[in-house]
């Protein structure tokens, strides 16, 4: 039978250490909404989402109450819109109309964000995909909770450098289109390599074509719990440290598994995966940076950071994987700068630089995330950053991504405010040495030799 100390430990995790379930995300296939008329398409999309996800938020709240565990976000992912709307959308206006339909449907069911205004162009772009990408500045400026992602590369296909070059311009245009709001539009846009089909986190989540009609995916959190557990590991060796992280990750993930199964049962939608990521928030004590510092760094960003993060990421997976029947999504420690108090401080003090963050992305999910850069950074420099990240993902057979915000009108020394879980960030300096010639060559970087396994 349960004892009072076990019950106290769980409740302390929830109340003091900010243990929560970060998101219940319902993936919804829109493939059956496809048609050649944009108005009908919008109606089909609206109806399907508002029908399938009608009870999502209420169910999430009921589970929160029954188990006493906060479920911070309820979200929806949909099939990449380029696959659904290609036949109906012939102008940017058409794509904007579809985005508004998604925005309306998501607001109607009360979710926080909806992801999937996406294009998968890892080898090359179709005209429809190209058009969708070019609609993003308007889409992200005119809608409130629609998130977008573009997959520009994979280990199997190489990197579509035409898409990389285009995305540099698009990120800039989105920043300009939302200039009066610290370029907030870029917060809703992720450029991926090896994007997973079942990612429950935003802004990069979409419902991949390998998925069924609807699915429940859950993202857990818990850097605060790991951080607190590491207080007991102070001065101990790596074996003790690793055991502590694994044990904690197991406990956190079991809560996520429980919530996922319960949501799946109550909504009568199949359970998909648990995403094992440690996801920080800007709140004090809910920081991956703090965990790294407790492992032994004076400040995140200094020498030792990459090794500490590699170890943390591995132990979180080892502990979490036994706690869940299906693990997927991104599953690793997140390092979004603006969403992590200790990372914000380290970036502000100059200890954490983009080059170090890039090294860190080699050993964790997901990439250069939520990094505010000067508004006058050129499109080709942003493309170069995207290409570098994509190359890391392609060669290491892992997901990588870029979500940088070139904050219009601001430079190094300023800071940008995104609000809520998205946090705030000092503008970080970027190496402006030109890569214009490199990114404008056109064509694609071939898949690496180790991708040929057949």
């Amino acid at each position: 039978m349960l004892n009072i100390m076990e019950v106290h430990e769980t409740n302390q995790m929830i109340e003091q250490e900010k243990l929560d379930v970060r998101t219940i995300t319902m993936g919804i296939s829109l493939l059956d909404c496809a048609t050649d008329d944009v108005t009908t398409l919008c109606d089909n999309i609206y109806t399907k989402i508002t029908t399938k996800a009608h009870d999502l938020v209420a169910t999430g709240k009921a589970i929160e109450r029954d188990y006493g565990i906060p479920i911070v976000n309820k979200r929806i992912t949909v099939t990449p819109i380029s696959l659904v709307a290609g036949n109906a959308c012939h102008t940017i206006d058409d794509y904007v109309a579809v985005a508004h339909a998604l925005d309306r449907a998501a607001k109607e069911v009360g979710v926080d964000l909806i992801g999937g205004f996406s294009a998968l162009v890892s080898k090359s772009m179709t005209p429809a995909e190209n058009l969708l990408i070019r609609s993003l500045p308007r889409v992200l400026a005119e809608t409130d909770i629609v998130c977008s992602s573009v997959n520009v590369g994979s280990t199997k296909t190489g990197i579509d450098m035409n898409a990389v070059a285009l995305m540099g311009h698009i990120v800039k245009d989105v920043a300009e289109a939302t200039a009066d709001n610290d370029s907030y539009g870029c917060v809703k846009l992720v450029v991926f390599c090896n994007a997973p089909d079942d990612n429950p986190f935003m802004a990069g989540g979409f419902h991949g074509v390998t998925e069924g009609d609807a699915v429940i995916n859950v993202g857990v959190s818990g850097p605060g719990v790991v951080s607190r557990a590491l207080d007991e590991a102070r001065g101990k060796d790596f074996e003790f440290l690793c055991e502590t992280i694994k044990r904690t990750a197991f406990k956190i993930t079991r809560v996520g598994q429980l919530v996922a199964q319960e949501a799946s049962r109550r909504l009568n939608v199949p359970f998909g995966i648990i995403d094992l990521s440690l996801a920080p928030t800007p709140a004090v004590g809910d920081s991956v940076g703090e965990v790294l510092e407790k492992i032994g760094l004076a400040q995140v960003g200094g020498p030792g950071t990459t090794a500490a993060l590699a170890m943390l990421n591995d132990q979180v997976k080892k502990g979490g994987i036994m706690a869940s029947s299906y693990v997927g999504g991104l599953s690793g420690a997140f390092i979004p700068v603006s969403e992590d108090k200790n990372m914000i401080d380290a970036a502000g003090s100059g200890n954490l630089r983009i080059e170090k963050l890039e090294a860190m992305t080699c050993v964790c999910s997901v990439g250069l995330d939520m990094i505010a850069i000067p508004g006058d950074t050129t499109a080709s420099t942003i493309s170069g950053i995207i290409a570098d990240e994509a190359a890391i993902g392609m060669v290491n057979q892992k997901t990588t991504a870029v979500r940088v915000i070139p904050v219009a009108g601001k430079g190094v020394g300023d800071s940008a405010e995104f609000g809520g879980l998205m946090g705030y960030a000092p503008i970080m300096p970027v190496n402006n040495s030109s890569c214009e010639e490199f990114v404008s060559r056109g064509g694609r970087i071939p898949a690496p030799i180790h991708s040929f396994k057949n």
């Binding site: 039978m1 349960l2 004892n3 009072i4 100390m5 076990e6 019950v7 106290h8 430990e9 769980t10 409740n11 009921a62 109450r65 029954d66 188990y67 006493g68 565990i69 406990k251 079991r254 809560v255 598994q257 429980l258």
Partner: protein
Amino acid sequence: MNKAIITVVGQDTVGIIARVCTYLSKSNVNVLDISQTIIDGFFNMMMIIDYSDADKDFGTVVDDLEGLGEEIGVRIRCQREEIFTKMHRI
């Protein structure tokens, strides 16, 4: 059997258990086990209950107990048992 865990945390005072039990009795909720201890200077009580035959839905019990806690000046939570068993039992 539908088990849940009630926890009471706060300053010890006369009649906490009595008032919680009175509410449970009126709601036809069965108490299976009670334990209490002092953690970090605070009174901690845990009850394991069976709410299979409760005359109201579980959400109402949760809300009512939270309200009762506010009246008494302690924190009362009522959570379904699985969140604890999943975390602490393989």
